[in-house]
C-alpha cells in the first residue's frame, strides 16, 4: 500500500463515522467517540500529508472503477495535494478535538454528528481526485454537507437565508467549474486531469479558464464580489464547523485555483495576473474594512477570511506574473508566500473561531457589544485568542507576519517585471495590502478589546466561566503552531519548496543557516532577510532586562483603586468605548465611500424628554450592485411570468396553436 491508497481509506472511514454519527445515542460518550474518531482519522491524514510532502517521489496515481464508466475515478497524490492534506487535516484534527468538549454543549449535537465527518471526507476527497467528474462530485459534496451544517440551527431565519445564499452561490460556482472543465476537456470529452494537462498545451483559451476559475473557485473562496454568502454562512454553523469552513474549506478552494491555474494550464501569461491582482487587492481591502464594521464576533472573523483570501490570491497573482515573465525566484517567493499564508490562515482563523465558540458557549452571545471583561473570567481562552489576534494582524514574531512579509518581498522585486502595467499595479496593490494589514490590526484591537477587555456589558458576560479542557487544548495546539511557525518559518518554507517546484517550476534553495539557523533568506544571503527566532530572542532578552531593571530600581508596591479616567470615572459599563464607537473613525474615513455609510444622529434639545438615537446605515457594494438586483430581477420576472399559470384553456390552446403556426411558417420558409 502506498501513501495514496492509505489516504484513500480515510474517506470511507470518515463516511462510516458519519454513519455512526447518524445512529449516535444522546450521550456524551457517543459524541466524544464520534468526534474523537474523526479527529484521529484527521491526525492520520495529517501524518500522511506530511509524509507526502517530505517524500521525494513522483506523484502517486491510482484509478478506481468509480464514476463515469469510460474514464473512471482518477486519484493522484503530489506535493500540492500533500500540502493541502496537511492544512485540511490539521484544521480537522483541531476542530475535532475542540468539538470533543464544545460539541457536547451544542443545543442539537445530533444534527452535526452525521454531517461533520462527511464534510471532512469530502474536503479530503477534493484534494486527491484527478479527474473533473470526481472533482466536482467531491466539491459539491463538500458544499452540500456544509450546507447541512449551516442549517443546524435552522429555526433561526437568518441562518436559513444564509444557507440558501450559500448553496445558491455554491451551485453557481460549480456551474462555472463545469464550464471550465468543458473548456479544458475540449471536444474529446476526456475528463481526466492528465488529459487536461495535455490539452492545455494546445489551443485552450487560457484567459477564459482563468476567468472561470475566479468565478468558480473564487466564489467558494470568497473573492469579491462573490464573497457575500461567506460572512453569512460561516458564522451560522456551529463554531467548530465555522472554523473548518473558514479555516479549511476556503483553502480547498485555493487548492482548486492553484491546481487549475498552475497545474492544468500549461502556459500562464502575465496579463492573466492583472485581474487576479486587482480582485485580490479589493477583496483584501474590502474584507477587512467590512470586518471592522461588524459587531458579531463570528461574522467579523468571517469577513477576515475574505480579507485573507484576498492576500492569498495576491500571492497567487504575483506568482503568475513572475512565472509568465520567467522570473522564477519572484514566482517561487510569491507562491511560497501564498502557500504559507494558506497554512497560517487556516491555523489562526481556526483558532479564532474556536475561541469565539468558547465565548459563545460561555456567554451565549455573539454580539461583542454585550461582552467585555472576559479576560478575567476566561483567562486561558483570552490568551489563546490574543495569540490568534496578533497572528492574524501580521505582527512579528508570529506566523501571519512571515507570510505577509514574503508577499511584500515578492512585490519588492516586481519592478523587474518588463511590463509597465505590472510595475505600476503591484505597488498599488501592495499599498492595499499594507492598508489591509494595518486595518486588520485595528480590527483585532477592537475584537479582542471589546470582547475580553474592559468591563462586562451584560450579566452573561459577567458570569461567564472558562471553557472545558478539550476546547482549551485544541486552541493551545493551534496557538502553539502559530507561534512556532512565526519563530521557525524556515522549516515550513523549506517544506513548501516541492510544492513551489510543482506549481511554478522552480524552488528556493534550501536554507543552509548561512547567517543564522532560522533566518529567512528568500533572495540569498545578500537579499532581504527576516529572523523570527532572533527577534523573539531579542524581545525576550529586552523584556528580561526591562523586568530586571524595573525590579531592581523601581518601587514594587502595587495598589488597586478606581480607574482615573481624567477624574470622572463612571461606574456604569455602558460608558465604555463600544465596538461601534471604536470603528467610527475608520468608518468615517473609508466607509462613506465604500459602503455608503451614513450616520443619523438624533439629539434632543435640552428640555426634551425623548431618548436620543444614533443610527448607522451601510450598504455592501457587492450586495447592492450584484446580488440584490439579481434577486429582484428574478422576482420581477417570475411575477410577470406567473400570469401564464392562470390562463384559460382557450388561451393555452392558443399557445399550442401559435407554436404550431410558428413551426409551420418555419417549415414553409425553410422549403
Amino acid at each position: 500500500m502506498n501513501l495514496l491508497e492509505i489516504f484513500l481509506w480515510m474517506i470511507p472511514l470518515l463516511l462510516l463515522i458519519g454513519g455512526v454519527g447518524l445512529l449516535a445515542h444522546k450521550t456524551a460518550t457517543w459524541y466524544r467517540g464520534v468526534y474523537g474518531a474523526t479527529g484521529l482519522v484527521c491526525l492520520f491524514g495529517l501524518v500522511v500529508g506530511v509524509a507526502g510532502l517530505v517524500a521525494e517521489q513522483p506523484p502517486l496515481e491510482l484509478v478506481l472503477p468509480l464514476g463515469l464508466p469510460w474514464s473512471h475515478a482518477h486519484f493522484r497524490l503530489d506535493h500540492l495535494t500533500a500540502f493541502f492534506m496537511v492544512v485540511v487535516n490539521l484544521g480537522g484534527a483541531a476542530a475535532s478535538l475542540f468539538a470533543m468538549g464544545y460539541g457536547l454543549h451544542e443545543p442539537h449535537p445530533r444534527r452535526i454528528l452525521p454531517l461533520y465527518p462527511c464534510f471532512l471526507a469530502a474536503m479530503n476527497l477534493v484534494l486527491v481526485v484527478d479527474d473533473a467528474y470526481s472533482f466536482l462530485l467531491a466539491w459539491e459534496c463538500m458544499s452540500l454537507t456544509s450546507w447541512g451544517l449551516v442549517l443546524v440551527e435552522h429555526r433561526i431565519a437568518s441562518n436559513r437565508q444564509a444557507a440558501f445564499l450559500y448553496l445558491s452561490m455554491a451551485g453557481f460556482g460549480t456551474m462555472m467549474l463545469l464550464f471550465l472543465f468543458g473548456v479544458l476537456a475540449g471536444q474529446a470529452g476526456d475528463f481526466s486531469f492528465a488529459a487536461f494537462r495535455l490539452n492545455s498545451a494546445g489551443n485552450v483559451n487560457g484567459f477564459l479558464v482563468l476567468f472561470l476559475v475566479l468565478l468558480g473557485a473564487g466564489s467558494k473562496a470568497g473573492l469579491f464580489p462573490l464573497h457575500v454568502w461567506l460572512p453569512l454562512a460561516h458564522p451560522a454553523a456551529p463554531s467548530h464547523v465555522s472554523a473548518l469552513m473558514s479555516g479549511v474549506m476556503t483553502k480547498v478552494a485555493v487548492y482548486a485555483a492553484l491546481r487549475i491555474i498552475f497545474d492544468l494550464n500549461a502556459h500562464v501569461q502575465w496579463q492573466w495576473s492583472v485581474p487576479v491582482l486587482i480582485i485580490a487587492g479589493i477583496t483584501a481591502f474590502i474584507g477587512v474594512l467590512y470586518a471592522i464594521m461588524q459587531h458579531d464576533i463570528k461574522r467579523l472573523l468571517a469577513y477576515h477570511t475574505v480579507e485573507n483570501i484576498g492576500i492569498i490570491f495576491l500571492g497567487i497573482g504575483l506568482a503568475m506574473a513572475f512565472r509568465a515573465n520567467h522570473q522564477f525566484v519572484g514566482a517561487s517567493v510569491a507562491i511560497t508566500a501564498a502557500l504559507l499564508h494558506t497554512l497560517n490562515h487556516s491555523l489562526f482563523k481556526s483558532l479564532l473561531f474556536l475561541g469565539s465558540g468558547a465565548v459563545l458557549h460561555a456567554t451565549g452571545e455573539r454580539d461583542i457589544e454585550k461582552l467585555g471583561g472576559l479576560i478575567h473570567r476566561m483567562p486561558v481562552t483570552a490568551f489563546f485568542f490574543l495569540v490568534g489576534s496578533a497572528a492574524i494582524s501580521a505582527l512579528p514574531p508570529l506566523n501571519g507576519f512571515v507570510s505577509e512579509w514574503l508577499i511584500f518581498q515578492a512585490m519588492m522585486v516586481s519592478p523587474h517585471l518588463p511590463q509597465p502595467l505590472m510595475k505600476f499595479l503591484i505597488p498599488c496593490v501592495g499599498a492595499l495590502l499594507a492598508l489591509a494589514a494595518a486595518l486588520a490590526a485595528a480590527c483585532f484591537v477592537k475584537a479582542f478589546g471589546v470582547t475580553f477587555l474592559g468591563r462586562p456589558r451584560s450579566p452573561q458576560a459577567a458570569q461567564a466561566v472558562e471553557t472545558d479542557g478539550f476546547s482549551l487544548s485544541a486552541m493551545a495546539v493551534l496557538a502553539t503552531l502559530c507561534i512556532l511557525i512565526g519563530i521557525f518559518p524556515v522549516t515550513v518554507v523549506d517544506l513548501l519548496q516541492p510544492v513551489s517546484q510543482l506549481l511554478v517550476g522552480v524552488h528556493l534553495p534550501p536554507h543552509s543557516g548561512e547567517l543564522a539557523p532560522f533566518t529567512l533568506l528568500p533572495f540569498g544571503s545578500e537579499g532581504s532577510s527576516y529572523d523570527g527566532f532572533l527577534i523573539m530572542l531579542f524581545m525576550l532578552v529586552a523584556s528580561t532586562l526591562t523586568a530586571w531593571s524595573v525590579k531592581r530600581f523601581a518601587c514594587g508596591v502595587t495598589k488597586r483603586g478606581d480607574a482615573w479616567d481624567c477624574g470622572q470615572p463612571d461606574p456604569s459599563p455602558m460608558t465604555q468605548y463600544t465596538a461601534g464607537s471604536f470603528s467610527q473613525p475608520i468608518r468615517r474615513v473609508f466607509g462613506s465611500v465604500w459602503f455608503y455609510a451614513r450616520e443619523k444622529v438624533d439629539m434632543p434639545l435640552p428640555g426634551e424628554t425623548r431618548a436620543a438615537s444614533f443610527k448607522v446605515t451601510m450598504l455592501d457594494p457587492a450586495w447592492e450592485g450584484l446580488i440584490a438586483p439579481l434577486g429582484q430581477g428574478i422576482g420581477w420576472l417570475s411575477e410577470r411570468f406567473n400570469v401564464l399559470h392562470f390562463l384559460s384553456i382557450r388561451q393555452y390552446l392558443f399557445l399550442v396553436f401559435t407554436t404550431l403556426i410558428l413551426f409551420l411558417l418555419m417549415v414553409a420558409q425553410w422549403s
Partner: protein, 318 residues
C-alpha cells in the same frame, strides 16, 4: 573573538538608544520651550521624570487585567528591539539582517497593538478613544510607509536597512526627486507614528484631542515610566531611521576600526539632535489638526510615496 566583537557592538547600540532616548525627548521639549520664549525644563528633565515615576507606587484600576500589567514590558521590549536593529552610527551591524525595514515597522506595530489593547483594558471611555484613533492613524500611515519602503527597495535592491544605508551613503544615487518625496512622506509618517503635532499633541491632556495620552491615561508609576521610555525610544528610532535612510553621512562600516566607529557615533548624535531640534521647530510652527483631517495629511504622505515610486521607474528607465 569575532562573535564577541559583534555582540559588543550590538550591545552597545542597544544600550545607546536607551541612554539617549530621554535626552532627545528633553531636547525636543527644551527647544519647543525656547521657541515659545520660555525657559523650559532642563534637557535632563526626562531622566528625572523617569526616576520619579519609578520610585512611585503603582496604582492599578480595579479591573485591570494581566494584559494591562504585561503590556508595558512588551511595548518597551518591542520598541527597544526595533530601535536596536536600525543602523545608528554604523551600517552592517552583526544582527542587522535579523529584521528589515518591513519587519521593523511591523515590530513597532506589535508594540502599538498592545498599547491600544492596554488602552481598552480598564474599560474607560478615554482609553477607547485613544486606541480607536491610534489604530486609525496607524492604518493610514502604513501604506505610506510601504511606498517609502518600495522606493528604498528599488534603489537598493533589498529592504535590508544596512544595505540601504550603505547604498545611500555610497553616493551613487545622487540626489533624486524620489528621495526627496519619500523623505517628505517619511517625515509625515514619523510625525503620525510618534504622536507629534499636527497629528497629536504629546503635551496636552485636553480630553477630546488626545490620542496617545488617552491610551496611557490609566498607567501609573513604573508602568508609566516604561510607556514613557518606550515613546522616547520610538522617537529615537524614527530619527535614526530618517538619518540612516536620507542622511547616511559618516556612518561607519562593521569592519571599520574604533576610530571610524567613534566618528560615526559623533555624526549620529549630531544628526539626531539636529533632527530633534527641527522637529521641535516644526511642531512649534504648526497647529494641531482635527482628528479627521489627519486622514488627509496621511493621504498626502501616501501620494508622495506613490509619486516617488513612479518617478523612480521613470528616472531609472525601468
Amino acid at each position: 573573538m569575532e562573535l564577541m566583537h559583534d555582540l559588543l557592538l550590538q550591545g552597545w547600540q542597544m544600550v545607546l538608544v536607551v541612554l539617549i532616548a530621554p535626552w532627545i525627548t528633553g531636547v525636543v521639549r527644551k527647544t519647543k520651550a525656547r521657541m515659545l520664549r520660555k525657559q523650559g525644563p532642563s534637557v535632563l528633565q526626562p531622566y528625572r521624570d523617569l526616576r520619579r515615576l519609578l520610585s512611585k507606587e503603582t496604582l492599578l484600576a480595579e479591573n485591570a487585567s494581566w494584559l494591562f500589567r504585561v503590556a508595558p514590558y512588551l511595548i518597551v521590549s518591542a520598541t527597544w528591539v526595533a530601535a536596536t536593529l536600525v543602523p545608528t552610527f554604523a551600517t552592517g551591524l552583526p544582527f542587522s539582517w535579523v529584521a528589515d525595514l518591513l519587519a521593523i515597522v511591523a515590530i513597532l506595530a506589535t508594540a502599538r497593538f498592545f498599547l491600544a489593547l492596554a488602552g481598552m483594558d480598564v474599560g474607560t471611555s478615554f482609553g477607547g478613544i485613544g486606541s480607536s484613533r491610534e489604530m486609525m492613524i496607524a492604518s493610514l500611515a502604513e501604506p505610506a510607509m510601504l511606498f517609502i519602503v518600495f522606493t528604498m527597495a528599488i534603489l537598493a535592491g533589498t529592504t535590508r536597512l544596512s544595505t540601504i544605508a550603505s547604498v545611500m551613503a555610497s553616493g551613487t544615487m545622487g540626489i533624486r526627486v524620489s528621495i526627496g518625496l519619500s523623505l517628505f512622506a517619511m517625515l509625515i509618517v514619523a510625525l503620525a507614528e510618534n504622536a507629534r503635532i499636527p497629528v497629536d499633541n504629546p503635551a496636552t491632556h485636553l480630553e477630546l484631542t488626545m490620542v496617545h495620552e488617552a491610551m496611557v491615561l490609566e498607567y501609573t508609576g513604573r508602568h508609566l515610566a516604561m510607556i514613557e521610555i518606550a515613546a522616547s525610544i520610538k522617537l529615537v528610532l524614527f530619527l535614526s531611521l530618517i538619518s540612516c535612510l536620507f542622511f547616511p553621512l559618516g556612518m561607519a562600516q562593521r569592519e571599520d576600526g574604533w576610530l571610524a566607529m567613534g566618528i560615526g557615533l559623533v555624526a549620529y548624535l549630531l544628526k539626531i539632535n539636529a533632527l530633534a531640534c527641527l522637529l521641535a521647530i516644526g511642531e512649534s510652527v504648526m497647529a494641531k489638526m482635527r482628528v479627521f483631517r489627519v486622514a488627509e495629511l496621511l493621504s498626502i504622505a501616501m501620494l508622495f510615496g506613490v509619486l516617488a515610486v513612479f518617478l523612480l521607474f521613470l528616472s531609472r528607465g525601468m
